[in-house]
Amino acid sequence: MRVLEAGEESVRPKKSPRARAEARLGWMMAGPAFLIMLSVTAYPIAQAVYESLFSYRLTEPDAREFVFLGNYATIFSDSVFWWALGVTVFVTVVTVAVELVLGFALALVMHRALKGLRGTLRTSILVPYGIITVVSAFAWYYMFDINTGYINEWFSWVPGISSDLDWFSNFGTAISVIMASEIWKTTPFIALLLLAGLAQVPDEMVEAAKVDGATWWQQMSRVVIPHMKAAIMVAVLFRALDAFRIFDNVFIMTQGQHGTEVLSMLAYKTSITRLEIGMGSALSVVLFACVLLICAVTVWGFKVDLASGTDHQDAGKEK
């Protein structure tokens, strides 16, 4: 975590001068990036942990008071928090599940599409990936909004939809549009990861399954998907962590009203809008803990090996 000092090196006797020079050069090159990453995240989170132990509003700086875990007690006994957590989990589960199915379908289309069309497909699918989340949120908002939208007109034949349906005035419809925009924007990412996974399934294996008499569905479920498990799990993990932090769409579409207040929104409102730094910090810490928990559960529970393939191969080659 710091550049090795000269004295420390001499303690390890077996190192050749080249190895030592290499280590020093390595840290000199990697150090700046490493330090910045760490300082911009480790410091604030440490600060947040510290602040979270105080009852502290920016509006009343003098009333700062050490309350130890009091903020956390407040949070965990407050139904607002549990609702926000529930909504966040709901959004995460639904969007990731839909994206996985949709992404797999998109990946299959791109994988099997004619060579000439692949470029066009990839280009078009990258537009949602590259577009600003806020822009995507506005695009969907204006589609559904009671004033500017045309969805009500287009689908007025569907029971329950009429020209005076205000999508953003109640939880069910509002959260649906929020999730739709989230799904639209991030499915390409999953699709591309799955496409890379598909490309790694050897054609021979699928052909062998065909010869063995597997139907299309059996080829998929018994050969292709099991073989892509690593790619799928990585995609799911990254997307789940991302979806759990959902904020931009909610902020633009509802500002958290009508029960759509997700955890990030709650934390933001508490600290930035209401300037309750102590409570906001505590919420930040809880959010961070949730993300760690998701990560731990996926990595250990599903044995996703994120770091593999990073330097195992070349470490052996060096010698």
Partner: protein, 420 residues
């Protein structure tokens, strides 16, 4: 051109494992030396130490009598052909070959560079490919570009790191011949790493056999074949491998699991008093008694064996005979097999017979064996008990003389060409 001296070279990695351990080799100016051994024997590491890509932990490396341990690779003036050729994918063939010349800024004019590259590409038949990029070349062509880049600089020595291992068998044979002729023509000192013993035997003036970082023997191919210093060298050199039969020497006779026979006096003395020895008999030391020429018969002994199966390859034929493995040498033979990258040893005698031989599996047959060429090994130490260093040295001396004659002839030829 240069001589290269390796004096007690040691390479230890951070974990203390010696990849190269106390290796000393004197390479004469113009000599072609092969480093050979199973994977992990340290041969590539040794080569990389010579060229300067690996640090030398202990010992001295001298080029033309000068210690170069701490000299950067680029200042050693050696050129190297890498296993994967290490061609620069973004440069054309011409620029790849010209690369070393261009690095020496100001030393060569544009015309000189062009002339040199063209000369080399002429020699390697690359003229029509000069404008292409390495990605569009076949394996053999890439290999020749790598050679061209090594040659163009007229460096002090050529180093080759398994340069032919990525080519198919036929191409390998062609390139082997080409490398050999090129080296003789240019007379450049060369060190060549390979695990292929055909390359080792055909290319090398001398071959250094390494095992686990230690030099086992360095000698001409003939000496290695006829007078191996130990069990490992005997087993590693020659294909199919030498047979090792557990046996005892009693009353001037060698008793083996496939029969007893007389052996020469020298062998008797070497093997006497030992509890058990390993008799090293190459498959080609045997012959089917039926097809044997009469004059040879007296030099050997006859054995009655039961044949398990045969393999007929057109130009040669192998006969296999099962025997009972002796528990006392099983471990030795097993670890020998592992040292040579083989999985297991089978208690099976391999006999090379004439392709005309009519022997078939299940037959009982009379086999002749040339007892004068058998070696006896101590299973405990691996030492060759019947090693004749003088006879071996004579073989290597002869090879050295041959090389010098070749070099002189090549020189005369170039002089003659220059005069006309």
């Amino acid at each position: 051109m240069a001589s290269i001296e390796l004096k007690n070279l040691v390479k230890k990695y951070a974990d203390g494992y010696p990849a190269v351990n106390d290796v000393s080799i004197d390479i004469e100016d113009g000599e072609f030396v092969i480093l050979v051994g199973p994977s992990g024997c340290g041969k590539s590491t040794l080569l990389r130490m010579i060229v300067g890509l690996e640090d030398i932990t202990e010992g001295d490396l001298l080029i033309d009598g000068e210690r170069v341990n701490d000299v950067a690779p680029r200042q050693r003036d050696l050129s190297m052909v890498f296993q994967n050729y290490a061609l620069y994918p973004h440069l054309t063939v011409f620029e790849n070959i010209a690369f070393p010349l261009r690095l020496q800024k100001g030393r060569f004019s544009k015309k000189e560079v062009t002339d040199k590259v063209n000369g080399v590409s002429e020699m390697l038949e690359l003229n029509e490919h000069l404008k292409r990029r390495p990605g569009n070349l076949s394996g053999g062509q890439r290999q020749r570009v790598a050679m061209g880049r090594a040659i163009v600089r007229e460096a002090k020595a050529f180093l080759f790191d398994e340069p032919l291992s990525n080519l198919d068998a036929k191409l390998r044979g062609q390139m082997r011949t080409q490398i050999s002729q090129l080296q003789r023509r240019l007379g450049t000192t060369s060190v060549y790493v390979t695990h292929d013993q055909v390359e080792a035997m055909t290319l090398g003036d001398r071959v250094a056999v390494l095992k686990k970082g230690e030099l086992q023997q360095i000698a001409s191919p003939r000496e290695l074949y006829e007078q191996p210093a130990n069990l490992f060298v005997a087993g590693f050199i020659g294909a199919p491998s030498m047979n090792f039969l557990p046996c005892t020497v009693t009353d001037g006779r060698l008793s083996t699991p496939v029969g007893d026979f007389d052996i020469p006096e020298g062998h008797q003395r070497a093997g006497e008093g030992k509890d058990i020895v390993l008799a090293g008999i190459r498959p080609e030391f045997f012959e089917d008694a039926e097809t044997l020429e009469g004059s040879k018969r007296d030099r050997g002994s006859l054995l009655e064996v039961e044949i398990s199966h045969t393999e007929w390859l057109g130009n040669e034929q192998y006969v296999y005979v099962h025997y009972e493995m002796d528990k006392r040498v099983e471990d030795t033979l097993q670890s020998l097999a592992e040292d040579m990258d083989a999985d297991e040893t089978r208690p099976e005698l391999v006999i090379s017979v004439s392709p005309e031989s009519k022997l078939r599996g299940g037959d009982r047959a009379t086999i002749w064996v040339d007892v004068s060429r058998i070696h006896l090994f101590d299973p405990a130490t691996g030492e060759n008990l019947t090693h004749d260093p003088e006879a071996g040295a004579e073989l290597t001396r002869r090879a050295a003389d041959e090389r010098r004659r070749d070099a002189e002839r090549a020189k005369e030829r170039t002089e003659a060409a220059a005069q006309s």
